[in-house]
């Protein structure tokens, strides 16, 4: 099956903890993205990688850091989570930058 896979589906943690989310795509795409969807359902891009190179880095707090081992994987680490980090984090990929994007199922983070 070719698609975008994310783990975990849900994660509940406490303020100050570190969390990591994984994303893998089996579509053979060169570009991957992380988006944040807040409680109002607004989707905003956080990071984008093209062939393991960071090409988009929006204004996000420093506690967020993307990690790419190869072009099929893009993970997201959050050091010392805050309550406002509660959201759904969506990973996506595209064949190349600027082309149609395909999304994973998302990881819902709840920070208590």
């Amino acid at each position: 099956e070719t698609a975008v896979f994310q783990t975990p589906n849900y994660h509940v943690t406490q303020v100050g903890n570190e969390v990591s989310f994984n994303c893998k795509q089996t579509l053979g795409h060169d570009t991957m993205y992380w988006y944040k969807q807040d409680s109002k359902k607004l989707l905003k891009i956080m990071f984008s990688y093209n062939n393991k190179q960071l090409i988009v880095n929006e204004t996000v707090p420093r506690r967020f850091s993307p990690q790419s081992s190869d072009k099929a994987h893009l993970n997201l680490r959050i050091k010392s989570v805050e309550p406002e980090d509660s959201a759904v984090y969506l990973c996506a990929s595209s064949l190349d930058r600027g082309l149609e994007q395909y999304f994973g199922p998302g990881t819902r983070l709840t920070v208590l």
Partner: protein
């Protein structure tokens, strides 16, 4: 920066009726994509349509690039069409900017 406005914010239909969703954007778009987000949250790409008219199944999208607008027409709506429809624009080729979405409810 790029702004994407969608209307209506919400829409309620009876099964079998047609729906017309609008997307307006503030600056030139090199690519435009319509997405469906189910109540469970997964995001599915429906159509990629930077200009002109495209059809897929019961969906028709028309984008008028000069006027910075796009529409999504859903014909013969079904209860399973209920969910949120999102319009997203590329500018600069790297960043997808999403609209605020239209929440559609189709009653049986």
């Amino acid at each position: 920066g790029q702004q994407v406005q969608q209307s209506p914010a919400s829409l309620v239909l009876q099964e079998g009726e047609n729906a017309e969703l609008q997307c307006n954007f503030s600056s030139t778009a090199t690519q435009l994509q319509w997405f469906y987000q189910s109540p469970g949250g997964s995001l599915v790409s429906l159509l990629s349509n930077p200009s002109g008219t495209k059809h897929t199944g019961r969906l028709t999208s028309t984008t008028v690039t000069k006027e910075r607008r796009s529409s999504l027409h859903i014909s013969s709506s079904q209860t399973t069409d209920s969910g949120t429809y999102l319009c997203a624009i590329f500018n600069m080729g790297y960043k997808l900017t999403f609209g605020t979405g239209t929440s559609l409810l189709v009653d049986p």
